[in-house]
C-alpha cells in the first residue's frame, strides 16, 4: 500500500522540481500534480469486469514570462518530460491578462475529502468486487423478470495532489471517491457518490430500491397526458444539477460575462423568490470541494442567488482581474470539454459544491394531479448554452397522479422542452427533502415543462 507520506512526498517532489527547473527563465510558474489509484468493477449485463488504475499521474503547468502566458501538460512522473514541455511552451506564450499566479500559504496537508476506508479498499479489490455483486444481486432479486438488463459501476479511488507556484508554499491535499451507479434496461438509473466508502447496505439498498421504485406499467405521452402539452413537472435533483452546471453556469460565470456571452449582473432577477443557491468550492466531504481551486485560490462558500436575485458572479483569477480588478471567487477549474484531458484543459469558471435550501412541501406533493418526475434527459450537453433552451428525450422518470407513482415513462417515447432560465423564474415549489449527489445538495423542484 502506498503510504500517505510517501505519496505526498512524491507529488511535492515533482511539483517543486518542475518549478525549480524553470524558475530561472520565467517570471512566475504554477505546477499542479495529481497521482491517483482506482479500482472499479463494471456491471455489463451478467458480466462483472474489473478495472484497476495503478499510479497514474497528471501534471498541469502554466508559466508567465514578459506578460505572456505559457501552458503545458503531461502525464507520467517524469520531471524531464514535464519541465521539458513547459520550457518548450515558453516560445509559444501568448499575451494574457493574468498577471500572476496565486501566492500559496503554508498549510498542513488537507484531507477534507479523504476517507481511510476508501483508501484501504483500493488495496483489497475483492472487497470492491463483493459490493458490486451485492448491488447487482439486490437489483435482480427485486426484479419481476430475470431478464432485467443491468449496467453499472462500483468505483473507489484515491488521489494525492500538490500545487506549487513561484511564490509561497506547496499546498498538499488528498481525497477519495466512492461511487456506485446502476441503470436498468438502459433507461432508469440511480447512483450514490461521495468521498466516503459505499457500504454493503448502501449498495444493496440502491439496487433494490431502483427496481422496487419502478411501477410495472409504462405509459406514453398520449396515454398519460392526452398528447403533447405543458405541465408542471417535478424535477429530480440529479437533473436539476445537470441543468445548473450546463446551462445556469453559462449565465453566472464571470468569464462568460467578460466574453459578452452573458449579460448577467449582480442584482438581476434570475429566479423565483423561492430559488436560492450557494456555491461552496471549499465544501468538506464533497467531490466538488477542495482546499484550493485549480489555480490556488482558497475554496469558499458564496451566495450565488438569494431569493431569486443574483448576488455573485462566479470567477476565476483571470476573469476577476479583467472584470473588476479584484479577487477570484475560487471557481477556476480545469474543466475538460469534449476530448480534452483534465490536465490539458484551460482553467475555466466552474461550479463547486452546489447547495440549494429545502422548501416545505413533500416532494411528491409538489405538483397535484397528473404529472411526471423527470430524472434525466438524454444529451443535455447539446442543449443551447446561449439561450438556456433544451429539447431532449427523457431518460428516466415516472408518471405520478396526486403524488403516487403509477407508471414508468415509456423509454424513447417522451421528450421534454423548456428554457432553464425561464424554469428558474417559474419555480412553483421546492421540496422539503434534499438529495446529496456527491457534488451538490439539492431539493426536488416543480416547474412548467413541455412534454411531447
Amino acid at each position: 500500500m502506498t503510504s500517505m507520506n510517501v505519496a505526498f512526498a512524491s507529488v511535492r517532489a515533482l511539483a517543486e522540481a518542475v518549478r525549480a527547473r524553470v524558475a530561472a527563465v520565467t517570471d512566475d510558474v504554477e505546477v499542479r500534480v495529481e497521482r491517483a489509484d482506482q479500482v472499479s468493477y463494471a456491471i455489463e449485463g451478467r458480466a462483472l469486469i474489473p478495472e484497476l488504475q495503478c499510479d497514474t499521474w497528471r501534471v498541469a503547468m502554466r508559466a508567465r514570462k514578459g506578460g505572456r502566458l505559457a501552458i503545458a501538460a503531461t502525464t507520467g512522473s517524469s520531471i524531464d518530460d514535464a519541465a521539458g514541455a513547459l520550457l518548450r511552451s515558453l516560445s509559444a506564450a501568448q499575451p494574457d491578462a493574468l498577471e500572476d499566479f496565486a501566492v500559496l500559504h503554508e498549510t498542513p496537508p488537507d484531507g477534507r475529502g479523504w476517507d481511510d476506508a476508501v483508501a484501504a479498499m483500493i488495496d483489497r479489490p475483492a472487497q470492491v468486487r463483493a459490493l458490486a455483486v451485492c448491488m447487482a444481486e439486490a437489483a435482480r432479486a427485486a426484479a419481476a423478470s430475470p431478464e432485467v438488463v443491468l449496467d453499472g459501476v462500483l468505483k473507489v479511488g484515491r488521489t494525492w495532489r500538490a500545487m506549487a507556484t513561484a511564490r509561497g508554499a506547496t499546498v498538499l491535499s488528498a481525497s477519495t471517491v466512492g461511487s456506485a451507479f446502476l441503470m436498468v434496461d438502459g433507461n432508469e438509473w440511480d447512483s450514490l457518490s461521495g468521498t466516503a466508502a459505499p457500504t454493503e447496505q448502501d449498495v444493496r439498498s440502491l439496487g433494490r430500491e431502483l427496481i422496487v421504485g419502478l411501477p410495472p406499467r409504462e405509459v406514453t405521452v398520449a396515454e398519460w397526458l392526452g398528447g403533447p402539452r405543458e405541465v408542471t413537472v417535478i424535477i429530480d435533483p440529479r437533473l436539476l444539477e445537470s441543468l445548473l452546471r450546463s446551462l445556469f453556469l453559462e449565465r453566472v460565470g464571470l468569464d462568460r460575462v467578460v466574453s459578452g456571452l452573458s449579460r448577467a449582473s449582480v442584482g438581476d432577477v434570475v429566479g423565483s423568490p423561492i430559488f436560492s443557491l450557494f456555491d461552496d468550492s471549499g465544501a468538506t466531504a464533497s467531490l466538488a470541494g477542495a482546499v484550493i481551486d485549480d489555480e490556488g485560490v482558497i475554496g469558499q462558500r458564496k451566495t450565488v442567488v438569494e431569493r431569486g436575485v443574483l448576488r455573485t458572479l462566479l470567477a476565476d483569477r483571470r476573469s476577476a482581474k479583467v472584470a473588476w480588478g479584484g479577487a477570484s471567487t475560487g471557481n477556476g477549474f480545469r474543466l475538460p470539454l469534449m476530448a480534452e484531458d483534465a490536465s490539458e484543459a484551460p482553467v475555466r469558471v466552474g461550479m463547486g459544491h452546489l447547495d440549494m435550501p429545502e422548501g416545505n412541501t413533500p416532494r411528491m406533493k409538489l405538483a397535484p394531479g397528473r404529472t411526471v418526475v423527470l430524472t434525466d434527459l438524454l444529451g443535455i450537453h447539446s442543449a443551447n448554452k446561449a439561450t438556456g433552451a433544451f429539447n431532449n428525450p427523457v431518460q428516466g422518470g415516472v408518471a405520478v397522479e396526486d403524488g403516487v407513482p403509477v407508471a414508468r415513462l415509456k423509454a424513447g417515447a417522451w421528450s421534454a422542452t423548456g428554457n432553464f432560465h425561464a424554469i428558474l423564474r417559474a419555480l412553483s415549489g421546492v421540496s422539503a427533502e434534499r438529495m446529496n449527489t456527491g457534488t451538490a445538495t439539492l431539493p426536488w423542484v416543480a416547474a412548467p415543462v413541455r412534454l411531447s
Partner: protein
C-alpha cells in the same frame, strides 16, 4: 501506408520494447496469458476562447499502459499504469494478480487470435514532425485566419465572435503479448474546430464546423495562414449561416404535423453513429443493451431498414464507398489489441449482417476480430467505432443532385449539422444546427432554427428512400462510451432522404 514495409518506428522503441517484454515475462509467471498496449501522444494545440484569450500549447505529452492478465478458467483483469517502466509495470501486475485471484472462472472468456502476428510496424511517418518542428507559427496563423473570417462576417449590428480549437498530434502505440506478438503504430492526426457566435443585442446564434483526418494541420492551413480552399469556403458559409440564424424560425406545429420528409445533410448523420452503430457493437449486444440484436447475436429486427440501406464501419471511404486505408478521423491501421483493421459490414440490403468486434467478443461469437478493440490511453479495450458510414450500393435510389432527390417531397426539411448526440437502448437524440424548408420539391430560402432530431433505433431506417451526392465522412467527432473517448466519424452521401414515420421526430426549443 498500411502495406508499406517501411512504416516508422516509434521514438524510444529501444527502451519501451524491452520494458514491455520484461513486464510480460514477469506477468507470464503469474498468469496464463497477458498482453499490453502502451500509448503515447505528443500534441500541439491552440485554443481561442470567445473572450479572445488565445492559448497555444506546443508540447503536451500523454501516455499510459494497459495490461490484461488472463488466468486459469477465463479469469481476467485489466490494469492501467501511468508509466512504461519495468518497476511501475511490475507493481501494476502484482496488484492485478490480487484482483485476478478474486475473479470467478469464466469458461466463455477467450481472445480470438491476432491475425498476421509476425508483422511489427504500421503507420505513416509524420511530415514536419511537431516534436522537431515548432508548430506555433502555423497555429497562430490559423487563429489569425479565423479571426479575419469572423471580422469579415460582422455587420453594423451583428458581431461575429469566433472560437477555435485545433491540434495536431503524433500518436504512437506498442502492443505486445506473452505469445511473442509485438506491433507498433505511428499516426499523425489533425483536427480543427471553429465555432461562430453571431451576437445582435440580446440575441445569439451559433454554428460549429469541424475538420479532422489522418495527417497534420498542413492539410488545412499553411504557415502563412492561408486556409485550404474547401476549408475557407465551408468556414465562410457557416459563419454566414450563424448570422442568418438570428432571423430564422422554428417549424410550426402545423408544419411538423404535415411534414412528409426529412433530408439529412452529411453533417447531420450522427444518428447513424448513435442509433445504429452503438447497438451493433458486440459488447453492447452481449450485455443485453441493444434493442436490435439479441445477446446471442441474432437480429431482433429484420429488416432493420429499407432495401437501400447499407452501413459499414471502416477506414473512411471515397466518394463511391470504397474504404481508403489512410483516410478518416477515426482511422487506424491496427486496433489497440494489435488486430489489423478491416471493414465491418454491419447492414446490407436493410438487414443486419455483422457486428463490430474486439478479440474478446470475436471469441464469444465465434468470428474473426474486426479491429474495433480500442482503449483511451491505458483504459480497458472495448469495442469502438471508427468511421461509420451509410454506404449504399449504386442504383436509381442514389442520384447526383439535391434537386433530383427532392422530387416528390411535398413538405420537407433539409437538416444540417449537429452539436452532438446521445444514445439510449431504444433510440437516439441529436441536435441539429439549422435547416431549410422544402415545399413541393423545391428548396425554399426559409431557414429553420436548431432543433432536436430523435429516432427510434428499431424503425428509423425503414423509410430511407434515397441519396444524393458522393460519400463523405463529414461528421468528425469524439464518441464517449463509459468514461472513454475516441475520435470517430460518421458519414454517408451528401444528402439522405427519409420519409416521415413514427420512428423519427423533430422538435424545437421553446
Amino acid at each position: 501506408m498500411l502495406n508499406s514495409h517501411d512504416a516508422p518506428v516509434p521514438r524510444g522503441d529501444a527502451a519501451v520494447r524491452p520494458a514491455l517484454e520484461s513486464a510480460l515475462r514477469y506477468a507470464r509467471t503469474k498468469a496464463t496469458y497477458a498482453d499490453a498496449v502502451y500509448e503515447r501522444v505528443f500534441k500541439c494545440e491552440v485554443h481561442q476562447l470567445a473572450s479572445g484569450q488565445r492559448m497555444v500549447k506546443p508540447a503536451s505529452v500523454k501516455s499510459a499502459v494497459q495490461i490484461r492478465l488472463v488466468g486459469e478458467g477465463g479469469r481476467q483483469v485489466g490494469i492501467k499504469a501511468g508509466d512504461a517502466n519495468v518497476e511501475t509495470l511490475r507493481t501494476a501486475i502484482d496488484r492485478g494478480v490480487e484482483a485476478l485471484a478474486a475473479e470467478p472462472a469464466d469458461p466463455g472468456f477467450g481472445l480470438a487470435a491476432i491475425p498476421n502476428p509476425t508483422r511489427e510496424r504500421y503507420g505513416i511517418a509524420p511530415t514536419d514532425d511537431p516534436r522537431d518542428v515548432d508548430l506555433t507559427p502555423r497555429l497562430e496563423a490559423l487563429a489569425r485566419a479565423v479571426d479575419a473570417l469572423a471580422a469579415a462576417g460582422s455587420t453594423s449590428d451583428v458581431r461575429v465572435v469566433p472560437e477555435l480549437w485545433a491540434w495536431e498530434q503524433v500518436e504512437e502505440k506498442w502492443i505486445a503479448d506473452t505469445d511473442g506478438v509485438f506491433k507498433t503504430q505511428v499516426m499523425t492526426i489533425g483536427f480543427v474546430q471553429v465555432v461562430f457566435r453571431a451576437l445582435r443585442g440580446e440575441q445569439q446564434a451559433r454554428t460549429r464546423v469541424r475538420f479532422g483526418d489522418v495527417g497534420g494541420l498542413a492539410q488545412y492551413v499553411d504557415v502563412e495562414g492561408r486556409l485550404a480552399p474547401a476549408v475557407a469556403q465551408e468556414l465562410a458559409d457557416e459563419r454566414d449561416v450563424a448570422v442568418r440564424l438570428l432571423d430564422a424560425r422554428p417549424m410550426t406545429a402545423e408544419e411538423l404535423t404535415a411534414v412528409t420528409h426529412y433530408v439529412l445533410h452529411k453533417s447531420a448523420l450522427v444518428f447513424i453513429h448513435e442509433g445504429l452503430g452503438h447497438p451493433i457493437e458486440a459488447d453492447i449486444v452481449r450485455s443485453g443493451n441493444s434493442a436490435i440484436v439479441s445477446p446471442a447475436g441474432v437480429a431482433l429486427v429484420s429488416p432493420l431498414g429499407s432495401a437501400v440501406v447499407r452501413i459499414i464501419d471502416s477506414a473512411a471511404p471515397d466518394g463511391d464507398g470504397t474504404p481508403v486505408a489512410d483516410k478518416g478521423f477515426g482511422t487506424e491501421f491496427i486496433d489497440d489489441e494489435g488486430v489489423e483493421v478491416r471493414a465491418a459490414e454491419l447492414v446490407s440490403g436493410g438487414h443486419i449482417v455483422g457486428m463490430m468486434h474486439s478479440r474478446e467478443t470475436a471469441h464469444r461469437f465465434g468470428v474473426a476480430p474486426t479491429g474495433n478493440g480500442f482503449s483511451e490511453l491505458g483504459d480497458r479495450r472495448i469495442v469502438r467505432m471508427r468511421n461509420t458510414v451509410l454506404c449504399p450500393e449504386r442504383g436509381e435510389h442514389w442520384v447526383d443532385s439535391l434537386e433530383e432527390l427532392l422530387r416528390g417531397v411535398t413538405l420537407g426539411v433539409v437538416l444540417h449539422g449537429s452539436l452532438g448526440g446521445a444514445v439510449s437502448k431504444e433510440g437516439m437524440s441529436s441536435s441539429t444546427q439549422y435547416g431549410y424548408l422544402v415545399r413541393d420539391g423545391s428548396l425554399t430560402g426559409e431557414m429553420i432554427l436548431p432543433g432536436n432530431f430523435t429516432a427510434l433505433t428499431a424503425g428509423c431506417l425503414k423509410t430511407v428512400e434515397g441519396y444524393a451526392g458522393p460519400i463523405d465522412c463529414h461528421g468528425v467527432g469524439f464518441c464517449g462510451k463509459g468514461t472513454q473517448l475516441r475520435r470517430v466519424t460518421e458519414g454517408g452521401p451528401t444528402f439522405v432522404r427519409l420519409g416521415a414515420s413514427p420512428w423519427v421526430n423533430l422538435t424545437f426549443e421553446a
